[in-house]
């Protein structure tokens, strides 16, 4: 009991301290200003835009790949050595330090594929990083669906894919969504792999807009643009000696913590709802 209290109180003390330091800097301007050499005018515009774009790219790759891999392993995979290799791999990948993913991205995406220090490279890196989370969540959600559902579907003449498409995926969607949210919450706070691929810490411009006025209207130039993200901006401010920048770091940290806690909270709530409503 005492140990639990110590743990909880430490956390509360840490967060209250950061909130007190940072809350003074939180204002509308903080979200709409670029980083600046003058701490009073610095903001996180380029950081949150960068984070949003990187997250979109990450979700675009991680969600289909992770769900497809999870479906394969639960519904299709035969019990043979290839399946064993894939499963051991996923377990191991979940334990690889995130900075090693950064090195992979630096060697492979940045130089070998020539993607440079772009949003695309960062999104791909984080997608690989959270892939095990999405796969494991998908598998657990699918595993909780009773066998009768599958048998009923086959009895009506559905193929395996039809069973997956119209029964397995809809029934497991809440569980899968929980996993995706937890994965994204992890990705948004990751700093090390993105620093490793060489994201810039000082960016005072936005990537090209995805929607344009002249044809073809939609542009993907932003994928190749240099960028910064929230955690990197916070790292940059934290490592400066001036105390005024530390207030900025605290404010950025506050935004970041609120975002990740909200995402995790949403996931936990979803799972709780799911458990309560699940009656097969």
């Amino acid at each position: 009991m005492v140990a639990l209290m110590i743990g909880v109180l430490t956390f509360v003390a840490l967060f209250v301290d950061m909130a007190l330091d940072g809350v003074g800097r939180l204002s509308w301007d903080f979200f709409t200003n670029y980083p600046s050499r003058r701490p009073g005018q610095a903001g996180i515009l380029s950081a949150w835009v960068g984070s949003t774009l990187v997250m979109l790219t990450t979700a675009f790759f991680a969600v289909p790949l992770g769900v497809a891999a999870g479906v394969y392993l639960e519904e299709y995979a035969a019990k043979n050595w290839i399946t064993d290799v894939i499963e051991i791999n996923i377990t191991n990948l979940a334990g690889v330090p995130s900075i090693v993913y950064g090195l992979l991205a630096l060697g492979l995406f940045v130089y070998q594929f020539g993607l440079g220090q772009s949003i695309l490279a960062a999104g791909l890196t984080l997608a690989l990083l959270i892939l095990p989370v999405v796969i494991v969540a998908t598998r657990e959600a699918i595993r909780s669906i009773p066998q009768v559902i599958r048998e009923g579907s086959y009895a009506l003449g559905a193929t395996q894919w039809q069973t997956v498409r119209y029964h397995i995926l809809p029934y497991s969607s809440a569980g899968i969504l929980t996993g995706i949210i937890i994965g994204m919450a992890r990705a948004i706070g990751e700093t090390a792999p993105i620093i490793t691929i060489g994201a810039l810490t000082f960016i005072a411009f936005l990537p090209p807009a995805p929607v344009q006025s002249e044809p073809p209207f939609i542009s993907f130039e932003w994928l190749m643009s240099p960028f910064t993200v929230m955690p990197i901006q916070m790292f940059n401010w934290t490592s400066r000696p001036e105390a005024a920048f530390h207030a900025n770091a605290a404010a950025a940290g506050l935004v970041l913590v609120i975002m990740t806690l909200a995402m995790n909270g949403l996931a936990i709530w979803l799972r709780y709802r799911l458990r309560r409503n699940l009656k097969w």
Binding site: M1, L4, F11, L14, D17, M18, L65, G66, A68, A69, V71, Y72, L73, Y76, V85, I86, N89, I90, L93, G95, V96, P97, S98, I99, V100, Y101, L103, L104, G107, Y111, L131, P132, I135, Q160, W161, I182, A185, R186, G189, T191, A192, I195, T196, T201, P231, M234, F235, T238, S239, H246, A249, G253, L256, T260, L261, M263, N264, G265, I268, Y272
Partner: protein, 315 residues
């Protein structure tokens, strides 16, 4: 379907042909979908292969320049100076020291919390505490780095004024706090999996609740608890941002937590922040450092797996 039973008309044959063609198309489509799903599952294998390939490829070039004996025995780490030395022990000492501090915090506290939650806590409290711990696991590590540098270090300096602004101690303490949720969550799962009958047997011979928890439940759940510890170790070794922010980036061969020192991970960050030309020795050092890190965590994971197998108690 034919007009006269037992007699097939031309129309019948074509219909049968169509049905067969549809069926074949359906089988082919099913196979294609399975193939696509299989390829998605293979991405994880490619990721591992990619990691090993990149790390080994760049490290091979590195070890052509720097003999492996020097890498393991040199006591200086100055890869970016003219007089370059590459002694990984220097970075390893920082990693080991900070991890040791973190584990000294995380293992006792995490275990006690797990015992409390699993054996003593009322049902309601556990329902609240578990998700709370889980949410803490999701806090970005850079935020913990901020705490270490700007909250814990000044606090420690009040107790011990000579403490430098960057030190392994405060980074290690905060890292330990960060790891507590992982350790306690997995240990608790392991303890909850111990069957009730063991506890009842213990009570029946007159043991108290505390005796039951420490002498029956914990030993019975030992393999799970041990793998929680191992996971904690590999987290601590691979942790980056807390150390990069709070422990300084000065390579320093020391096992004294009161000193600043760079770890393997902090070094990689430091190099990545600077502008190193692609293909230089400095660029390759981070892959050699990364390979060391990877081997270390891999060893941890394998050890955890073996522990679980050897000490597994089946019920």
């Amino acid at each position: 379907m034919s007009a006269v039973p037992g007699q097939s008309t031309l129309m019948d044959v074509t219909m049968q042909g169509q049905r067969l063609a549809r069926r074949r198309a359906r089988i082919i489509r099913e196979r294609m979908i399975e193939l696509v799903l299989f390829l998605a599952a293979l991405v994880s294998v490619f990721t591992t292969v990619g990691i090993v390939y990149i790390l080994v490829k760049e490290s091979v070039v590195f070890f052509r320049e720097v003999p492996i004996v020097n890498f393991l025995t040199d006591t200086q780490w100055t890869p970016l100076f003219d007089d370059a030395h590459f002694g990984i022990m220097v970075l390893l000492s920082g990693t080991l020291t900070s991890s040791a501090v973190a584990l000294l915090i995380a293992i006792p506290l995490g275990t006690i919390i797990a015992i409390y939650l699993s054996e003593f806590a009322p049902f309601r409290l556990r329902e609240v505490a578990k998700p709370f711990l889980e949410m803490l696991g999701g806090v970005p590590t850079i935020v913990y780095g901020y705490f270490a540098l700007l909250f814990v270090t000044p606090l420690l300096q009040r107790i011990y004024p000579e403490l430098p602004g960057f030190n392994l101690l405060s980074a290690g303490i905060v890292m330990g706090i960060m790891i507590i949720p992982y350790v306690s969550s997995i240990s608790e799962d392991a303890m909850r999996a111990v069957p009730m009958s063991l506890r009842e047997g213990s009570y029946a011979v007159g043991a108290t609740r505390f005796q039951t928890a420490t002498r029956v439940v914990v030993p019975a759940a030992f393999s799970g608890i041990a793998s929680a510890y191992i996971l904690g170790i590999s987290r601590a070794v691979g942790e980056t941002m807390i150390l990069a922010v709070a422990a300084g980036m000065q390579p320093n061969l020391t096992f004294n937590p009161l000193e600043p020192a760079a770890t393997i991970t902090a070094f990689i960050v430091q190099v990545a922040l600077g502008d190193l030309p692609h293909g230089s020795v400095g660029y390759q050092t981070i892959f050699a450092a990364g390979l060391t890190l990877m081997l270390f965590t891999l060893a941890c994971n394998i050890a955890g797996h073996m522990l679980r197998k050897t000490f597994r108690e089946a019920y």
